[in-house]
């Protein structure tokens, strides 16, 4: 079975994140970049399927040159090969356009039965890419999986969100997004890191996907960002030491603010 795992490099949430003044897109150069943690869980889940049966795992990313680091990490965990869509024209693509690019890129891999992704990246937080990709591909999407199983052309998932839990089932091919509790991703072994260096990475641009520059990036996006501003920093107010009356002091403050 051929599995594609979507991975994404994101700004480290522990570092300061900002937008670029020039074109109002995420300033990816200004912060540390890491492989989004949830993607590692998607790779881990693919590796488990491979170990239980037979599968070829292709990791797919859309991003600039330095997304190579994220690809290497996934390959060193045990994925077999990678597709890296890297094209200046893609910069600034909105979610709908990104879903279309990803669907085209998945089309470059033969006979894909399963696409795995993280349920929500920490930067864009659209939290809907798996569903959108399924919509473009015409495949079912099974999202927020805390457990999953693939058996005889069917995929089943235990789904959990803030809104509740449910079981999902669909026929392959399908898109599955994994949630935080699905597994603990392995650390790459030394052997894995060495082997990753020899694994094939196919670098492609939008012309390889039969897309025109006008269909992607800021030009092809269906939303336009008009302006942005950092929120005025909230400054600390009063701070007092508790002298046995801390609770009463808070109550006084809340009364003053008409909150109680």
């Amino acid at each position: 079975m051929n599995i594609v795992v979507l991975i994404k490099q994101v700004p480290d949430t522990w570092s300061e994140r900002t937008l670029s003044d020039a074109d109002k897109t995420l300033d990816r150069a200004s912060s540390d970049a890491v492989l989004d943690e949830i993607n590692e869980r998607a790779v881990e889940e693919a590796l488990k399927i491979k170990e239980a049966g037979d599968a070829t795992i292709t990791v797919l990313t859309v991003g600039p040159d330095r997304a190579t680091d994220a690809i290497r990490k996934a390959l060193s965990m045990g994925a077999d090969n990678a597709v890296h869509v890297n094209d200046e024209a893609i910069h600034g693509s909105d979610a709908v356009t990104t879903a279309k690019i990803l669907a085209k890129a998945i089309g470059t891999v033969d006979d894909v039965q399963l696409v795995l992704a993280g349920n929500e990246a920490t930067d864009g937080r659209s939290g809907a890419m798996a569903g959108m990709l399924g919509e473009v591909l015409g495949w079912p999407s099974l999202t927020h999986a805390n457990e999953m199983a693939v058996d005889d052309g069917t995929v089943t998932v235990k789904r959990e969100t803030d809104e509740g839990t449910s079981d999902l089932a669909a026929s392959l091919p399908a898109v599955v997004s994994v949630a935080e509790k699905i597994n603990e991703p392995r650390y790459p072994s030394f052997k894995g890191i060495m082997a990753a260096k020899k694994k094939p990475v196919s670098k492609i641009g939008i012309s390889d996907l039969a897309l025109d520059a006008s269909e992607v990036g800021l030009a092809g996006s269906l939303v336009q960002v008009d302006s942005f501003a950092p929120r005025p920093p909230k400054s600390g107010g009063q701070k007092v030491e508790d002298e046995g009356d801390g609770g009463a002091k808070i109550a006084e403050f809340l009364v003053g603010q008409k909150l109680i």
Partner: protein, 319 residues
């Protein structure tokens, strides 16, 4: 006036407050029409409230399959309506399920998707809050219909009497090969406390609470203020409180009138989920805790004595 569709946020006919917020926002853009997707009988339960909050029309897409497939019934009903009435916008709740509906609808109808919107003006210029409230961004859709994911708790609900005329929408049969079938559905019912993302007051506990049993202290204060209970990632990871109550980068984003942080140090990860709260009160033993940098009122001390005292003071004033 152009029509504006609002997907009614409900659990088995129990309407959520966010629906009324979306109807309030929709009135700025045009004439609101509510869209009810649910099992037969749902519209009857929600119609009165919708009419009282500005819904001129109520499109009813009821079927048994409405709860048997993931997001497809909502996407199918909304896509059919987008084609038919060319609304200027479709407002959809910004929860996990709603965002999936919104993203898929945007793809299917080739519409611009504005995610996590907290405000909108009459021209369709949307305000988003990103990176956990560190930035606000203004954006608009360049397509005829904008798909808008609305974050609850963003604006004041306004009542507005409207006709609320019901109209049945034909629901297309679900294509099984393109949809995930749902079984064993168990929606989380909030119990007596308000829902975290909709609450006016949130009381949250962190690592400083120390154990699952000790969270009683947080709950007691929350109940005195009719507040929702939240928890930091540290508290959730330590098993003190269930995952769905996590506030922060990897949990929920909340923006209540009042946020009380008990034993929470205030790492960036946590602040990302709560720093847009109107008023922040913090209690922490460590005077250097970063939570004090954003707290309007901070007390350095032991939460186990301060919190019960505050609950008692609140009790005195409300009785």
């Amino acid at each position: 006036m152009p029509e504006v569709l609002v997907l009614v946020d409900h659990v088995d006919g129990e309407i959520k407050k966010n629906t009324y917020e979306m109807l309030t926002a929709a009135r700025r853009l045009g004439e609101p029409s509510a869209v009810v997707v649910g099992t037969p009988g749902t519209a009857t339960k929600v119609a009165e409230g919708l009419g009282a909050h500005g819904a001129e029309k109520i499109y009813v897409a009821e079927s048994d399959d409405a709860v048997n497939y993931l997001s497809t019934p909502q996407v199918d009903a909304l896509a059919a309506l987008v084609e038919r009435v060319s609304p200027t916008a479709v407002l959809i709740p910004a929860g996990a399920d709603g965002r999936e509906v919104a993203g898929r609808l945007a793809v299917r109808t080739n519409s611009g998707w504005l995610n996590d919107v907290v405000d909108i003006d009459g021209q369709g210029a949307a305000t988003h809050s990103i990176f956990g409230g560190a930035f606000t961004v203004q954006a608009h859709a360049t397509t005829g219909t904008a798909v808008i994911s609305w974050r609850s708790g963003s604006i004041e609900i306004e009542e507005h009497a409207a006709a609320g005329t019901q109209e049945t929408v034909e629901v297309p049969a679900i294509d099984e090969s393109k949809s995930a079938k749902v079984s064993n559905r168990a929606p989380i019912v909030g119990g007596d406390r308000p829902e975290l993302t909709e609450a006016n007051v949130v009381v949250a506990g962190g690592r400083g609470v120390g154990s699952a049993e000790n969270f009683d202290v947080v709950e007691t204060l929350a109940d005195s203020l009719h507040a929702a209970v939240g928890a930091s990632r540290a508290a959730v990871d330590s098993g003190y409180y269930p995952n769905q109550f996590q506030v922060g980068q990897t949990g929920k984003t909340v923006s209540p009138q009042l946020y009380i942080a008990l034993g929470i140090s205030g790492a960036i990860q946590h602040r990302a989920g709560m720093q847009t709260s109107k008023t922040i009160v913090a209690v922490n033993k460590d005077p250097e805790a970063p939570i004090f940098e954003i707290a309007d009122f901070g007390v350095v001390g032991d939460l186990f004595s301060i919190s019960p005292q505050l609950a008692e003071e609140v009790g005195k004033r409300s009785s």
